[in-house]
Amino acid sequence: MAEKPGEVVQGTLDMLVLKTVALQPTHGYGIAVRIEQMSQGVFRVNAGSLFVAIQRLQRAGLIRSEWKDTENSRRAKYYILTELGRKRLKSDQRQWGRQAAAIARILEAS
């Protein structure tokens, strides 16, 4: 699992980023903030891991990017989910659900 408390394991981070972008196209900082908010503070994403994950997802064709202006008239790269990404998110969610349920069953066994 995570090496330091609060950090997200690589594969899971990909899934979380996809979900975040699926909800609404955002820029990098927006993704980090949203993950933090939605996890109620459990996950704090650092810049390095986030952008590595974004580069990975982009190269796999799961998200695409666009330079746009933010509310503060600052230029930022916005990330949008692609059709491929949508499919991948669905399958990742399904798989994660199965794994989590299995782990829970094992842990609760007496």
């Binding site: 820029h27 990098g28 810049a47 952008f51 590595v52 990975r56 190269r59 796999a60 064709g61 230029r75």
Partner: protein, 900 residues
């Protein structure tokens, strides 16, 4: 997914090629990220400075993030390699001595190996220049006594008619012809071929046509197909030549076609056939060819049907052969078929020779690798401190290993590039010498893709071999000791020292193997050169005369010509005897025929004894320097019309007559051969006819060991149009009278050329050409190996002396004299040489068995060679170690003791 892979590659390439833009974009994005985070904190009430610090702590710094993102793409690894490459090249440039020696050594090794592989490729690996060459099969006959017999024409006709395996089957054999049209008369080599020959090979003529099936029949007229080179050189490449007649062998031939350049492309250009004539007219001129027991040199060549294998075809033709044996028991009993792929027939025995040579030069390459490995080790020792510091700063073993290997890779590339150039030059040189060595396709050496791939592969393997060991050793985490050291390697030196010593000992062992191989070949060659061929080969001039039957149709005319020619040649001053013989000993031909002894029960068909026939004229016994043991030679009374007489050799007499004096018992006996009854009137000492090594003749399938010889007068055997004239000189060099001989022949008939003028000694030496080539190459490799090994041991001992300067200083300060220091160093070197020599001798003895076929009268464990080689090695090693040893004695103890 394939598309994401492509996208990955594309993105990486974009990032590589537009480094600046990609970097700027990332930078901008990261800064934006940090600023937005900072703004957020500021909004919460924290000061700007404090906010930035917190953000940097929690989210990471821009630089760190940028590095992380950059290095996660595959292109960063590529960039790292490119950086290392440039760094390695700079480092190598700063050490020119090391780089030069390493690259040169590698170039020698890779170049030599690639050159030999080029030969192997041209002769053995390259497919034959015909469509689907794997379908081409060479067919010969075999019977109870001979494993390789030429094809009897009627047998071929039956095979062609009844077989189910071949799309086409043909026969051909070599022929000579005299071209007198437009220019000086010249003897040419060509082929008599059935019409299907060109279909089998699958080559269409460049101009005109090849033969029609009707031209296989006896009524066919004389047509001729020319080779491209003949057409160009002799006839100016004139297209009007088609349909015209030219005078050839004193007959008019109609030119019907010209073959494309390079056809057939198997023999070197100067030995390739220059013309083709159909079989039909030959059958008309020599009806004897239609006899089933006449094996006069035809080779069969067929193209398999698709899907048919060699085994199936063999079974098919053998089935036909068996039915022929039942139908014609007198001639075909026990007669079968001998089949191999056309490539195998062309290549013959040379494949073993070539692979052995490739293995030998491979050993040279290994020695070169070992030398370069030692150089790399030495250099790495000098870099110990640098590597230790880098390790302490966090470089991983993998990184250091990678950098070392990239440096070795640069050396390998340099060596390979230079080596390829050397190989190309060497192949140019060898291509000129090749045709004489009798290697087919030897004149087609080229750097084709196989050779280039081999060179690249060799470079890769050698890089790994010489690079990996030292690189692994150098990148080990031993930095603690090294940093503490004052610059001399101690603990790390031991492992390196052992590795160096092991490498040198291996080099010595490999050099010994090659030296033993060369030594055995040299001894064999010396023994061969001393073999007595059974006649006096010195002071003997020989040349061939081939009388065109169209010009001299009657036997009397031919015999009269020959008689007069011999008489005229006898008048040349200095000539002591003149004779003629065909086939000539060492002429590369023989003419065997079955025979029966009159008065003895007839042998079963298929198991008649055979003898090698030689047709002679003139004073052949004295001319050849043979020894008459009993009875008499031929004289003027033995001519056409008188009792046919024969002279046999002593092995013939001993084999077939018993009693206290078999030679005398043979006199007066009669044998029947070629449908003539001969009376034996003389017995001569045995003459070697094919090769100085009888085993070679057996291996070539052309004769059983010690087949007896029978000599008959040309005038009586009817084979009187072709003769090799031999002129014996008293003392002088036979070539001195060559022009005089030509003049005498011209006097008789100015249009009659003489061919293949050589001295007998030249012919015999020529029979050793193949062996000599192998010997020269092996000796060359052995010498190269010895030089490289000497350089290797010099390097190691020299370095050792440098490392032990302190120790030597101590010894000398304690009273050791120069002698003992010399002994110390020399002893170290000689010990290495001894270990290597011992290992090498063991290996050589084990491998010797493989080479037994190439040796003549020398055991593969020949004690003389096995003793001489180590002595040579010690001598050379001693010389190589002497210089460093002397340097050791000059060490000034005071300077050495003062320290580093």
């Amino acid at each position: 997914m394939a598309t994401s892979f492509v996208r990955n590659i594309a993105a990486g390439l974009r990032s590589l090629l537009q480094r600046d833009r990609a970097g700027r974009e990332l930078e901008e994005e990261l800064r934006g990220f940090m600023e937005m985070a900072t703004e957020e904190s500021v909004r919460k009430g924290i000061s700007q400075k404090e906010a930035s610090r917190q953000v940097r702590l929690e989210r990471g710094s821009v630089d760190a993030a940028r590095e992380l993102v950059r290095s996660s793409g595959w292109e960063s690894r590529l960039e790292a390699i490119w950086r290392d490459l440039r760094y390695s090249l700079r480092a190598l440039r700063r050490a020119p001595g090391f780089t030069a020696i390493a690259v040169l050594t590698l170039a020698l090794g890779i170049g030599a190996t690639t050159a030999v592989f080029g030969i192997v490729d041209a002769v053995l690996l390259r497919p034959l220049p015909f469509p689907h060459p794997e379908q081409l099969i060479a067919v010969r006959e075999q019977n109870a006594r001979f494993t390789d017999l030429s094809v009897a024409y009627p047998n071929y006709l039956d095979w062609a008619a009844q077989n189910k395996s071949f799309a086409a089957l043909s026969v051909y054999h070599g022929a000579g012809g005299l071209l007198t049209h437009a220019g000086t008369p010249v003897d040419l080599y060509g082929q008599i071929a059935s019409a299907s020959y060109f279909d089998v090979l699958g080559v269409k003529p460049e101009l005109g046509r090849t033969f029609l099936p009707a031209e296989d029949d006896r009524g066919a007229s004389d047509v001729i197909v020319l080779s491209d080179s003949l057409w160009r050189e002799r006839f100016g490449a004139s297209p009007q030549l088609l349909g015209r007649t030219i005078e050839f062998s004193a007959r008019p031939y109609t030119v019907v076609g010209v073959m494309p350049p390079g056809f057939p492309g198997i023999l070197p250009a100067k030995d390739a056939p220059k013309f083709w004539v159909p079989i039909g007219p030959e059958l008309a001129r020599d009806p004897d060819l239609l006899h089933r027991d006449r094996h006069s040199g035809f080779n069969g060549l067929g193209r398999l049907r698709p899907g048919v294998t060699l085994e199936m075809a063999r079974a098919d033709l053998n089935r036909i052969a068996r039915s022929l044996a039942r139908a014609y028991p007198k001639t075909n009993t026990g007669a079968g078929v001998a089949m191999q792929t056309y490539m195998q027939r062309i290549v013959g025995d040379t494949s073993t020779t070539l692979w052995i040579l490739l293995a030998a030069v491979g050993l040279v390459l290994l020695i070169a690798c070992a030398n370069v490995a030692n150089l790399v080790l030495t250099r790495a020792n000098g870099q110990q401190r640098m590597l230790a510091i880098r390790t302490a700063l966090g470089a991983t073993r993998a990184q250091l290993l990678g950098e070392r290997m990239i440096e070795c890779f640069c050396l390998g590339c340099g060596g390979a590039g230079l080596g390829l150039g050397l190989a190309w030059a060497a192949m140019r040189l060898v291509a000129d010498a090749m045709p004489d060595a009798g290697l087919t396709r030897g004149d087609q050496l080229a750097l084709d893709w196989r050779v280039l791939a081999f060179a690249a592969g060799a470079a890769l393997v050698t890089t790994l071999l010489f690079g990996l060991g030292p690189a692994w050793h150098a990148s080990a985490k031993r930095f603690g000791d090294v940093l503490k050291q004052s610059g001399r390697d101690a603990a790390s030196g031991h492992a390196a020292g052992r590795l160096r010593a092991a490498l040198v000992a291996t080099e010595m062992a490999l050099a010994v193997i090659l030296l033993v191989g060369a030594g055995l070949l040299i001894r064999s060659m010396l023994r061969l050169e001393q073999v007595d061929p059974g006649f006096d080969s010195h002071h003997l001039l020989t040349f061939e005369i081939d009388l065109p039957t169209a010009k001299y149709p009657q036997p009397e005319q031919r015999q009269a010509y020959m008689r007069q020619a011999l008489d005229r040649l006898g008048t040349i001053p200095g000539v002591t005897a003149v004779g003629g013989i065909y086939p000539l000993p060492f002429g590369g031909n023989d003419w065997e025929a079955p025979f029966t002894i009159v008065g003895r029960p007839a042998p079963r068909p298929g198991s008649e004894p055979s003898t090698n026939f030689a047709n002679v004229q003139g004073d052949f016994i004295r001319a050849l320097g043979m020894h008459l043991l009993r009875g008499r030679g031929f004289d003027a009374s033995d001519r056409a019309g008188s009792t046919p007489v024969a002279i046999v050799d002593e092995s013939f007499a001993r084999q077939y007559w018993a009693g206290p004096d078999p030679l005398a018992a043979a006199l007066g006996q009669q044998i029947m051969a070629h449908r003539i009854t001969w009376t034996i009137v003389g017995v001569v000492r045995r003459v070697m006819d094919f090769d100085l090594d009888p085993a070679a003749a057996v291996a070539a399938g052309t004769s059983e060991a010690a087949m007896p010889e029978t000599f008959v007068p040309m005038s009586q055997s009817g084979a009187d149009g072709y003769s090799v004239i031999t002129l014996r000189m008293a003392q002088a060099d036979p070539l001195a009278i060559a022009s005089a001989a030509r003049t005498q022949i011209d006097t008789g008939d100015p249009d009659q050329p003489i061919d293949d003028l050589q001295t007998m000694d030249q012919r015999i030496a020529g029979s050793l050409d193949g062996r000599r080539m192998m010997l020269n190459l092996m000796a060359g490799f052995a010498a190269l190996a010895l030089i490289l090994a000497a350089i290797g041991i010099y390097g190691v001992i020299s370095y050792s002396v440098t490392q032990r300067t302190h120790e030597i200083g101590v010894r000398m300060a304690l009273g050791a004299r120069s002698q003992s220091v010399l002994g110390l160093v020399l002893g170290q070197g000689m010990r290495l040489a001894a270990v290597g020599a011992f290992a090498g001798l063991l290996a050589a003895m084990a491998l010797g068995r493989l080479a037994a076929a190439f040796l003549y009268s020398v055991k593969s464990t020949d004690p003389v060679t096995l003793a001489a080689v180590p002595l040579l090695l010690f001598g050379v090693a001693g010389l190589a170690c002497y210089l460093p040893a002397r340097r050791a004695t000059r060490v000034d103890p005071l300077i050495a003791l003062r320290g580093d």
